[in-house]
């Protein structure tokens, strides 16, 4: 399988190791991974700010970069949802583009969904040992139905104990620009999330979307919690050794 990696703008800037973890997982699942170098961002920030034009331009850019692959995989439920669910909506009145983008959208997957359901990864290379609780990020959960997938993969890791937190499906308050525009409201939502995380009492909080994880980590640390690890699911599943 030829897989194009869409590493996402946040992973690019903030946590490259998630990108490398994703590559190693895809390779472990037997995929041939390519990383188009001109990729930037899926366009979600503009889309959610009401800038439809830029989102369309970025969707077209994505199309030219990724059309040739069997699959596109991305370590983010919200970017996957942007491509899978929202790209086709952007071209409802442009049948020529729609005819190309709709099938590409359907070939685009969130990482855990892809590993479990398409690549059927059996042996999880990760070495993580300890307890963790999982935060279900909104777009992945409600647009793509990503909920069982990460848990099923984690269940294959003998050293991992999952302890569910209360309200794991409630929004953490990130919401992109929302987190800055309505800072105190967003921080309160993050704080509620942190309360549930701490009540679960695990070694780590794990999720599939870096935006949410940065929000949660930022609030945990401000609360004085420097103990709970904040990890992307790819970091837990992959064998991190030797990766950047």
């Amino acid at each position: 399988m030829r897989v194009g990696l869409f590493f996402t703008c946040l992973v690019d800037a903030m946590r490259p190791r998630i990108g490398f973890a994703t590559i190693s997982l895809l390779e472990a699942a037997g995929c041939e991974v390519s990383v188009p170098q001109t990729q930037t961002c899926c366009g979600q920030p503009g889309y959610n700010s009401g800038d439809r034009k830029t989102s369309q331009a970025l969707a077209l850019k994505f199309l030219t970069e990724f059309e040739g692959f069997d699959y596109v995989v991305t370590p983010s439920g919200s970017c996957a949802s942007m491509i899978r669910v929202h790209y086709p909506k952007l071209f409802q009145d442009n049948p020529a583009v729609l005819a190309r983008i709709a099938p590409l959208s359907l070939r685009t997957y969130e990482l855990t969904d892809f590993l479990l359901n398409i690549a059927k990864l059996e042996n999880i290379p990760g070495q993580f040992r300890g307890s963790l609780t999982y935060h279900d990020s909104c777009s992945g959960l409600r647009d793509l139905g990503v909920q069982k997938q990460p848990r099923a993969l984690l269940a294959k890791m003998p050293g991992v104990a999952i302890q569910e937190m209360q309200e794991s499906t409630t929004c953490c308050g990130f919401g992109g620009a929302f987190s800055v525009k309505f800072g105190d409201l967003s921080a309160r939502m993050a704080d509620n999330k942190c309360t549930h995380i701490e009540a679960a009492g695990t070694d780590a909080i794990v999720g599939g979307d870096l935006g949410c994880l940065l929000n949660i980590e930022g609030r945990l640390r401000r609360r004085g919690n420097h103990k709970t690890q904040v990890l992307h699911i790819a970091e837990v599943l992959a064998d991190q050794e030797g990766d950047a």
Binding site: L58, R142, G183, M189
Partner: protein, 476 residues
């Protein structure tokens, strides 16, 4: 009702720090979110039922004018009088005219959000007509001179202590603290009012076209008294509330109470058809139905039309993490939560509610529970697009978005800019790897640290690894 939605942000901040409110909101969440979860599974084919409900509402909206005139014919044939109100002011004028015609001094009212849109109580009081709210929650609010903060549980923002104080002060009776004592006190005060009222005013959850009936769902029984005891009954509701048949209504009623209060069915479901006939023992002599537009028809035929499917269950606000943290008053007008963030800008003007479409993470919890499948996040996004098109976004936001767009479309410049920015943030993060302050993003850093980046971008590291790999070295 006065429009205060322009102050959303400031109000939201105040509400976050209101301890009593925070406790009340936690209770609401337990009661309504938990309540819905406990009973919604009683509908075995929930998804199909929601789809059917949305289809019923869509069918009406596609030919709203025809369904309304069908309703008018049927209602008139059964002795009701139908009035059409284009605006809130029209509603107030029509009710006042009816009051004058029937020599009304006192009106008893059951819950009606549409009347809140119009400021009906104040308008009638200005005409010398006494108005008494008889829904317990609305009665408390009337005593306190406050607006509802939830469309189903209007007084959810108040705790029992506050209500005890309020009753003691206004009723001039010894202060009571038990819920049943407080209810009894209210009931004893309200009972004579039903008998003394010349006019009953209610809303309507649905209008049934085939029978010309108005349907109301209530839990307190005051709705029945208001609609049957006084000589005159006026039902006020939005034009979108019409449904074709009783059968359609029964589908919607499977969803409404379960979504709203977590009840399989409400205590009362009243179907009000026509006025008191010669052979009837009771019922109002005069039954007036006011069909209110007040901005609704502007949604017809446009992208926002799905909003008119709304059956006012309140599930979207109960499940909204924003509403759950600030309550309804912060939204600044009649309708709070996700549905309010769409209706308010539509009804009072986007310029009077610029924050509302943006006051959402688009988490989708609302759309996931909406019984008529309104794509609320999509509609919020459409309002944002409208704001963008009208140049209503503040300039720093527009400038930032422009810059980001340009960079995202120019990969080489993007790579260079991120490389530099990421390096700077990395250095600012220090050994701790956290930024405690970030210029231009105090909204983030006032309440959170900003985790610093790893130092080099993925792109840089990948390219280096790729080059090294080609020289036979270990990647990264």
């Amino acid at each position: 009702m006065q429009v205060a939605s322009i102050h959303f942000k400031r109000n939201a901040t105040a509400k976050l720090n209101d301890e009593n409110l925070q406790q009340a909101l936690a209770r609401l969440q337990t009661r309504f979110v938990g309540g819905r979860a406990a009973v919604i599974g009683e509908i075995a084919e929930l998804e199909e039922t929601r789809t059917a409900a949305a289809a019923i509402r869509d069918r009406v909206l596609q030919n709203l004018d025809q369904w309304l005139s069908h309703f008018e014919q049927q209602a008139t044939a059964r002795g009701a009088t139908v009035h059409w109100a284009e605006s809130g002011a029209d509603v107030n004028r029509i009710v006042a005219e009816i009051a004058v015609r029937h020599d009304v001094r006192k009106a008893a009212k059951s819950k009606s959000m549409v009347s809140e849109e119009c400021g009906l109580n104040e308008a009638l009081e200005a005409q010398g007509i006494e108005v008494i709210e008889t829904d317990l929650g609305e009665y408390i609010l009337q005593l306190a001179h406050e607006a509802p903060s939830h469309i189903v549980a209007p007084v959810v923002h108040k705790n029992r202590e506050e209500i005890s104080d309020l009753f003691a002060e206004k009723h001039r009776l010894p202060r009571k603290t038990g819920i049943s004592e407080l209810c009894r006190e209210a009931r004893e005060i309200l009972r004579p009012q039903f008998l003394a009222a010349d006019m009953g005013i209610s809303g309507a959850n649905f209008l049934i076209a085939e029978t010309g009936s108005a349907l109301i769902v209530t839990n307190e029984g005051n709705g029945r008294l208001v609609t049957t005891l006084p000589r005159v009954h006026v039902a006020i509701t939005g034009i979108e509330k019409v449904v074709p048949t009783l059968e359609d209504v029964s589908t919607l009623l499977r969803l409404l109470p379960r979504s709203a209060t977590g009840q399989s069915i409400t205590n009362y479901v009243s179907i009000l058809t026509g006025n008191k006939g010669a052979a009837d023992h009771d019922g109002p002599e005069h039954f007036h139905i006011i069909l209110v537009d007040n901005g609704r028809s502007s949604l017809l035929g446009g992208e926002m039309q799905p909003m008119l499917r709304c059956i006012r269950c309140g599930a979207c606000m109960n499940h909204c993490p924003v509403y759950q943290n600030i309550g309804g008053h912060a939204y600044g007008w009649v309708y709070p939560g996700p549905m309010g963030s769409i209706l308010t800008p539509t009804f009072v003007g986007l310029e009077n509610a610029p924050d509302l479409p943006n006051a959402s993470t688009l988490c989708g919890a609302c759309a996931a529970v909406c019984p008529v499948k309104i794509p609320l996040p999509d509609l919020l996004r459409q309002l944002r697009e409208k704001q963008m098109a009208l140049g209503m976004k503040p300039w720093p936001e527009r400038a930032a978005l422009k810059l980001w767009s340009w960079l995202a479309l120019h990969p080489a410049a993007y790579a260079l800019t991120t490389k530099i920015a990421v390096r700077a943030l990395f250095l600012a993060g220090g050994t701790e790897g956290l930024l405690h302050r970030l210029p231009g993003a105090s909204g983030w850093t006032d309440g959170r640290d900003f985790p610093a980046p790893q130092g080099k971008t993925f792109r840089e590291r990948y390219n280096r690894a790729f080059r090294e790999n080609r020289h036979g070295e270990k990647r990264a």
